[in-house]
Symmetry: C2
């Protein structure tokens, strides 16, 4: 396994500033494959779905799904709560890219949007910017496109890895993601696109995307808000000639997705800490996942981490209101290596040790429910003064 910065074979991309964001930063991303791609995606479960999500679902979640050639992503405007006009604007964006890329049909182009809800897309900016994006397309632009999809993210998030199949062939998977706020994915994160030159069937791809989502993006939370725009899409063009087995491909996609998801949790709005919550001893994975997510979402837990206050009762409390049938008399809890709670009663731990365990940037909490063998790990960040500042003034 090696790490590189070029895109997988047959992909080109560009990230440019089209003036959609008021601050002049890069905001328009175009990704294209020289040949048709198998494509699969998961979308937000929010009942209020953005126009690009509704369009993407119609494109990909059908038995007659077309193969894809391009993805257009804009930051600065979510195109959500925008009615019929929003759907027309999403189509027009795809049409524009399709024409400039000389594709046969605009429905071979996916569109994604992120930004403020309730505002129509500025179509004039797309008209002016798209030709620039097409002109800038190249095969080494992973960092550029990771930058252009950012909103309140402080660092771009990308990954590129090459894998070798059992029969010695190599394939590459590269992905970008954005997160920061309104992150409590229930199907996928805000936006993530993964490209691969592996040759996989549509069935394998769809299954792998679903599995990877559950183990990665659905295991992170920033603030408990499930967005209107969450989309995780994977495009596979087969250009490497490598044909990984379903298991080989799933393992590779899981690894890439989990790394992207962890990057999102680490860069949550205002985050000062990266918190790993490992829930073991559950009856089922779903139980461990629900308990872990509930802990990771609690503002009281998250502010305690920010204050480096080993107030562990907030964690057992959150487990208790998760909706799962847990029992404090079976629970045990550790901060870092410090065992603070055992089968319903505080241990005789040292307060200094527990406090010291809160100090590192990376903190691990381990809650054993004492009920079974299943486990799940979720990732989140703390809740700081900056979270409030960022979200009190997001639009200004």
């Amino acid at each position: 396994m090696t790490t590189q910065t070029a895109l997988p074979k047959g992909f080109r991309a560009a990230g440019i500033a089209a003036g959609i964001k008021k601050n002049g930063k890069p905001d328009l991303t175009l990704i294209t494959s020289d040949t048709d791609c198998k494509a699969a995606a998961v979308f937000t479960t929010n009942k209020v779905k953005a126009a690009p999500v509704l369009r993407g679902m119609a494109q990909l979640n059908s038995a007659y799904a077309k193969e894809m050639r391009a993805v257009v992503i804009n930051a600065g405007c979510a195109n959500a709560c925008t009615g019929e006009q929003g759907l027309r604007n999403a189509d027009a964006t795809a049409q524009l890219a399709s024409t400039l890329l000389r594709l046969n049909a605009h429905d071979q182009v996916m569109v994604m949007s992120t930004g403020v809800i309730g505002v129509q897309l500025p179509m004039d900016k797309f008209q002016a910017g798209m030709p620039q994006a097409v002109a800038a397309l190249n095969n080494t632009s992973l960092a550029d496109i990771a930058q252009a999809i950012m909103t309140t993210d402080t660092v771009p998030k990308s990954i590129c890895r090459t894998y070798t199949t059992a029969d010695g062939k190599q394939f590459t998977i590269a992905g970008i993601a954005k997160g920061a706020g309104m992150i409590h994915p229930n199907m996928a994160t805000m936006l993530s696109v993964v490209m691969t030159d592996a040759k996989v069937s549509l069935g394998t791809l769809r299954q792998a995307v679903k599995n990877a989502t559950n183990r990665s993006f659905n295991c992170i939370t920033i603030d408990g808000d499930t967005s209107t725009n969450d989309t995780f899409a994977v495009l596979a063009n087969g250009a490497s000639g490598a044909k990984p087995s379903a298991t080989e491909f799933e393992d590779a996609l899981n690894e890439v997705s989990m790394e992207l998801a962890k990057k999102i949790a680490r860069d949550g709005e205002g985050a000062t800490k990266f918190i790993t919550i490992r829930v073991t001893g559950a009856r089922t994975w779903d139980m461990a996942h629900k308990v872990g997510r509930t802990i990771a979402t609690s503002p009281l837990v998250k502010t305690a981490f920010y204050g480096e206050d080993a107030n562990w009762g907030r964690i057992t409390c959150a487990a208790g209101y998760s909706g799962e049938d847990v029992n404090p008399d079976h629970m045990s809890l550790w901060f870092g290596g410090v065992h603070v709670f055992s089968h319903g009663t505080p241990t005789h731990y040292s307060d200094a040790d527990a406090t010291a365990a809160m100090k590192p940037v990376d903190v691990e909490v381990h809650l054993d429910l004492g009920l079974g063998e299943a486990e799940c790990t979720v990732w989140t960040c703390d809740m700081s003064h900056d979270y409030v500042t960022i979200n009190g003034k997001y639009r200004t």
Copy 2:
């Protein structure tokens, strides 16, 4: 209907400083009735229940429930996640009060606790403080006991109202409540005790308490964290001789409970705004309640109010992930009187008007789901920098 400050007939109470809180503020409350009381309570649905909650449920939620004579409440220590020792300490607290009040049995005394989770009660402080509390008992101490149950509350919360029955008799209802943080009651708020001298049957009382809880405490949220200690208890000693009808009593208790609940929402940790969220056009009350609660819990909605940012997309987004089957194409949304969203599309509202509507301390949001006739109003506060400060340093 008049307002007064004395307790209902036959009740005496005291709030004193027993040294349970490190800062020396009042922390021990004793309430007693000269005669036996019908009593009913609702408790937290959290699976991690504090010792006093487990004890209270055993006392009151049975067909053989005893009549009550006293309630002891301490602030500064929640007696939650404290195992067998915690249960023994709760019993010992009741026993101590029972002996000093010369009652027949310690199970005529309810105990309630609020404060840090995972720490055993300091029984020596109760031994020393309880005789002082007994000595201080009097009939005009409503303000004192409202003070002594506070934790991070900034103002004491109490109410006292006198009602007249259809046959011209008067009865009084007085109550105290504490809130501030870990407030997302799912049965009752953190702690609230209501006393009345009305003469009502146990059946009427239980039904009235359940109804009042749903319409009051279950309609507020501060931070989405359902506590281990939530308890709402009502004691009725009949000393006024007034026998209100079930409806008269329910209406009176609803009024008192809603006022206490709103006081809690208004004094949420770090709150700068009191937010009323009215959800109409729902298929059922449960649907309206779930949507309203989800909006009221969203950190993104709450920080937007703090920043006075009319970022209304966060409200429709939260409605969308509430789990209820809503549809943006049927929704309409108003800030104060400003109509910003109509049937899936932004209206042509003025940004200045929407921003101006966010400025008052009391802000009302009205979301019409356009699906039916049911409605529910929930109350919450904003999320400020001070919320983070308070909860990052709660134990220190």
